[in-house]
């Protein structure tokens, strides 16, 4: 076999293994990590990170309202999860999503504890380099600008007041002289139109 042929074979075997991992359920991934010798289920650990890091990051953005803190939370929660799986301390790996959510709630609750934990885990695992960062939904700001300006003025104002000025529905309702229900309906309609215009609906299809 030529050198080139060998390289192709290796790539195919690796591709086959990656496909099996990516097709596995969350529970299967978690059980594989738990049953492997510590640190040897690299593909499964990377897959678990890719599947859940962005969800933890979203949770962090929602509850911590700070991008850097949300990134830190995602890092901490996934390292903690892998650590517990390796140690056999996750009682029900089939419910790994629930475990990760619980860990997110717990760690987001204490910034000081979070910082200490990160130092400890980083020292233990050295670096998260083996784990690829998950693809996050990104938006083209120019597209958002174009699409936002195509909306009706009231809808546009509701979105800016909600997501930039962080106003509540009652506050926006007072501003616009309408009811809170009207604000919520306008927000639903406007964000859905914006999503369609920007193309995020299509981009999210599997």
């Amino acid at each position: 076999m030529t050198a080139a042929g060998t390289a192709v074979s290796v790539a195919l075997v690796r591709g086959s293994a990656d496909t099996r991992v990516s097709a596995a359920s969350d529970g299967e991934i978690a059980r594989a990590i738990a049953s492997a010798p510590p640190g040897e289920a690299h593909a499964q650990e990377s897959e678990l990170y890719q599947r859940f890091a962005h969800r933890v990051r979203l949770y962090g953005r929602k509850h911590l309202r700070d991008d850097s803190a949300a990134d830190d939370l995602a890092q901490q929660v996934l390292l903690l999860t892998i650590e517990r799986l390796r140690a056999g301390e996750v009682r029900n790996p089939d419910e790994i999503g629930s475990f990760i959510l619980g860990a997110s709630r717990m760690l987001a609750g204490s910034t000081a504890r979070k910082a200490r934990r990160r130092e400890s885990l980083t020292a233990q695992f050295h670096a998260p380099a083996p784990y690829a960062e998950p693809d996050a939904a990104t938006t083209d700001i120019a597209a958002v600008e174009r699409c936002l300006h195509a909306l009706a003025e009231r809808d546009r104002r509701v979105l800016v007041l909600t997501f930039y000025a962080e106003k509540t529905s009652p506050e926006i309702a007072t501003e616009l002289g309408v009811t809170g229900t009207v604000v919520r309906v306008a927000r639903h309609r406007a964000l859905e139109r914006l999503r369609d215009c920007v193309g995020l609906r299509e981009a999210r299809k599997p």
């Binding site: 969350d26 599947r51 979203l58 999503g97 003025e153 009231r154 919520r184 995020l200």
Partner: protein, 201 residues
């Protein structure tokens, strides 16, 4: 439906309410529990987050063409957005220009809005070309001014020109002015785009 593989998908309206902080803690926890077990619905949440962040990023870049409030302007200023303000009031022609450091230009439009609950603001170049139209702009009882924001980047593309701003409101009597009444008209003398002088003049 978010995805046929999710047996009980979260609706986009719930996702929007979640991000907007409209849900009770119990409702938020229900959504979070679902999302941590459901990749397709997590993508819905991710899409809403991406849009919300895009809107905020756009505002922080001063790329707004909309009616704003003093509260929004204060927040923009705190975020480092450089705002230039012009007041439109009465008959005087208002000299204006956009400078190199400007991010956002705001026209503070003052008029008598008594008895009016919504207006349309149309901006035209001296040539008659319409360059902005804000329809159905809400007016609160007692409101005396409307803050109309423009992206400075867009204004930099304007040549030296007069700019006409008209503020109209719909009338119930279609026979009066074709169903539209003019509340105020203003003229700005746009001098173009300038670099800031290097030092005190």
């Amino acid at each position: 439906m978010t995805d046929p593989r999710c047996p009980s998908p979260i609706g986009f309206t719930d996702v929007v309410d979640y991000w907007a902080g409209e849900l009770t803690r119990a409702e938020e926890e229900r959504i979070e529990a679902h999302v941590f077990g459901c990749a397709p619905c997590a993508r819905e949440l991710e899409a809403a987050d991406a849009l919300a962040r895009g809107i905020a990023a756009m505002a922080r870049d001063g790329r707004l063409h909309t009616v704003v409030t003093d509260g929004i302007l204060n927040r923009l200023a705190a975020d480092g957005v450089r705002i230039r303000m012009f007041t439109l009031e009465g008959d005087a022609v208002v000299p204006c220009a956009v400078w190199a450091g400007d991010d956002l230009v705001v026209a503070r439009i003052r008029a008598d809005f008594t008895g009016v609950d919504a207006v349309t603001i149309v901006t035209r170049k001296g040539s008659g070309e319409e360059v902005g139209r804000l329809s159905d702009v809400a007016v609160r009882p007692g409101q005396r001014e409307i803050l109309n924001a423009f992206s400075a980047a867009r204004l930099r593309t304007f040549p030296e020109t007069l700019v006409h701003v008209s503020v109209t409101t719909a009338t119930r009597d279609a026979g009066a002015g074709g169903g539209e009444r003019t509340l105020a008209e203003f003229t700005l003398d746009h001098g173009g785009s300038f670099e800031r002088p290097a030092g005190p003049q």
